[in-house]
């Protein structure tokens, strides 16, 4: 028996570890460092209907224990992703999750439909939480009615399981989670980045050209843990957790809070081997905290509460 294995809607994961959307491109660059077949899954960079060139630079700023980014969903468009990027990732023995985004409900629908024609993608991650684009994204992610509406449309359009990626930039995360669960989401993915800003002292102006950006990295881990823990008690669909994961101990903490899969984003920038290192370390770490398998850890903090 594989002690690290997890079963999720549409996904048979050999381990719960997957690089987070936008922090791993389409895998090409990191395939120079290690064999991507080692990963439970790969979540691809966001796909939109047409190619997007993103925001002006600077697009990133470092913060204490993290970073801000305002990439602006730069991507070559869904057709090019299906034609050029999916076949590359499909060479590896791993699951492919497509992150989809749009400015309108119609665009989300169009992108979801496009992925129906590829056999190599196992699930969609519905990004209703990008804080870095003027239209759409975050709007869908902060209003439960809008979130439910876009979830419904994408569920109807797609033949793949849909994991809705929630924004932490809300006052009631449980309400958002329940709204998308009721609308048919197969799973949740949380959390996306928190909106923040940094001012460059010498010029007295916001450092990012977009002014605001999304905060990620270890600074946001306690927020992610709290939100997953809260949501887990109110929904029955599985959660892919993320936000500041950089060690196997972090993974165990996310599993305890209620995540069934764990995505690693920003930490790939610090250490390109981070996902591979965590996978190697995980069996020892599980053992250290008295567990035999990943499955038995999931949500344990909840039942202890």
């Amino acid at each position: 028996m594989n002690k690290l294995a997890v079963e999720l809607p549409g996904l048979s994961l050999k381990n719960p570890i997957m690089p987070a959307s936008g922090c791993f491109g389409f895998g090409r660059e990191y395939s120079d460092f290690y064999d991507l077949s080692k990963l439970g899954a790969v979540i691809m960079k966001a796909a939109t209907g047409e190619r997007r060139l993103g925001n002006p630079t600077p697009r990133v700023a470092e913060t204490n224990s993290g970073m801000l980014n305002a990439i602006g969903l730069q991507n070559p468009g869904v057709e090019a992703i299906i034609r050029e990027e999916v076949p590359f990732l499909a060479q590896y023995n791993t699951n492919i999750i497509a992150n989809i985004a749009g400015s309108t409900i119609e665009e989300y629908e169009e992108v979801a439909l496009a992925f129906n024609d590829t056999e190599d993608v196992q699930a969609l991650e519905l990004n209703i939480s990008c804080p870095n684009v003027k239209e759409g994204g975050i709007q869908f992610g902060t209003d439960p009615m809008m979130a439910a509406r876009v979830t419904e449309v994408v569920k109807k359009a797609s033949n793949l399981p849909v994991y809705v990626k929630l924004s932490p930039n809300v006052s009631n995360i449980v309400e958002m989670a329940q709204a998308v669960e009721a609308a048919g989401a197969d799973g949740l993915s949380m959390i996306n980045t928190l909106t923040g800003m940094q001012i460059h002292l010498p010029t007295r102006t916001p450092l990012l050209a977009n002014k605001t950006g999304g905060l990620s990295g270890s600074a946001i881990k306690p927020i992610a843990i709290r939100m997953i823990y809260e949501v887990k008690q109110h929904v029955s669909i599985p959660i892919i957790g993320m936000g500041g994961v950089s060690t196997a101990e972090d993974v165990v903490e996310f599993l305890l809070a209620g995540a069934s899969g764990v995505a690693v984003g920003t930490a790939n920038f610090t250490n390109p081997f981070v996902c591979s290192d965590i996978i190697d370390e995980l069996p020892r770490t599980l053992k250290k905290y008295g567990f035999d398998s990943v499955k038995e850890v999931i949500g344990k903090a909840v039942t202890l509460a």
């Binding site: 090409r28 470092e62 980014n69």
Partner: protein, 250 residues
């Protein structure tokens, strides 16, 4: 190919105001690196690595020299590292300078922290039998470094913004006085590169561009620059940092 390597620090010395020279030892990087490539350096406690150009290589002693200015927390911490310590780097990163075999005279224009990559380039050019003219711009006299080392390789003109040493003004102020050359190479802050490419419009040239980076390997799309090709952009960390002056829009 980029590798994650551990480098031993052989020496650390302050060679000009807030400017540190660090000599590192690593076989792979010293064998692979070409002029214009950089190291992406991990500094404990920092989420993002720091890109620093390779200023020189010695294949016999397997050493790599970097020169950096103390700007903020990261470079300040790095400057405090001592001989015998180790640093974790990704490298050699980026594409490096294209050397045109048929050229006989090349003009190298470096500004401030853009000077370091020009040194390894100058040494390589001289080894290939080319004549080098170097124009080096610094803020003021106390910031000047490597003048003597460049002079050993060819004609060298130092410019300081405040006129406290060499010529007064900006590197572009003296480009009119330079003799003929085949190709120019430039590295420095973006406003300087903009002025240089304007001044030398129509000439064959390569520029090395600085931008805030995320992953440093081409995955995250933090450091992009608009380009004139069909894709519409280039990644500075992996397609660059060196670009043909005519293919990108500054």
């Amino acid at each position: 190919m980029i590798s994650k390597e551990i480098m031993q620090i052989l020496s650390v010395s302050e060679i000009a105001s807030e400017t540190v020279e660090m000599v590192l030892r690593n076989e792979y990087i010293s064998e692979q690196a070409i002029p214009g490539q950089f190291l992406h350096i991990l500094i404990d406690g920092h989420t993002l690595r720091r890109p620093i150009s390779i200023a020189d290589i010695n294949r016999e002693s397997k050493t790599v020299t970097i020169l950096f200015k103390i700007i903020g927390d990261g470079t300040k911490t790095l400057a405090g590292f001592k001989e015998g310590m180790e640093i974790d780097v990704l490298g050699p990163s980026g594409n490096g300078f294209l050397i045109e075999e048929q050229d006989s005279v090349v003009l190298l224009i470096g500004g401030g922290i853009g000077v370091p990559p020009m040194y390894y380039l100058a040494r390589t050019m001289v080894k290939k039998g080319k004549k080098v003219i170097a124009v080096l711009g610094f803020q003021s006299k106390s910031h000047v470094f490597y003048e003597e080392k460049f002079k050993e390789l060819g004609e060298t003109i130092v410019v300081t913004n405040d006129g406290s040493y060499g010529e007064r003004g900006f590197v572009t102020d003296i480009l009119g006085k330079i003799g003929s050359f085949d190709t120019y190479y430039s590295c420095g802050p973006v406003p300087m590169l903009r002025a240089v490419t304007n001044e030398l419009q129509g000439r064959r040239g390569f520029i090395s561009i600085e931008e805030r980076m995320g992953c440093g390997v081409g995955a995250c799309l933090a450091c992009v620059i608009p380009a004139t090709d069909e894709k519409g952009y280039k990644k500075i960390c992996s397609d660059g940092p060196v670009f043909d002056a005519r293919e990108v829009t500054l």
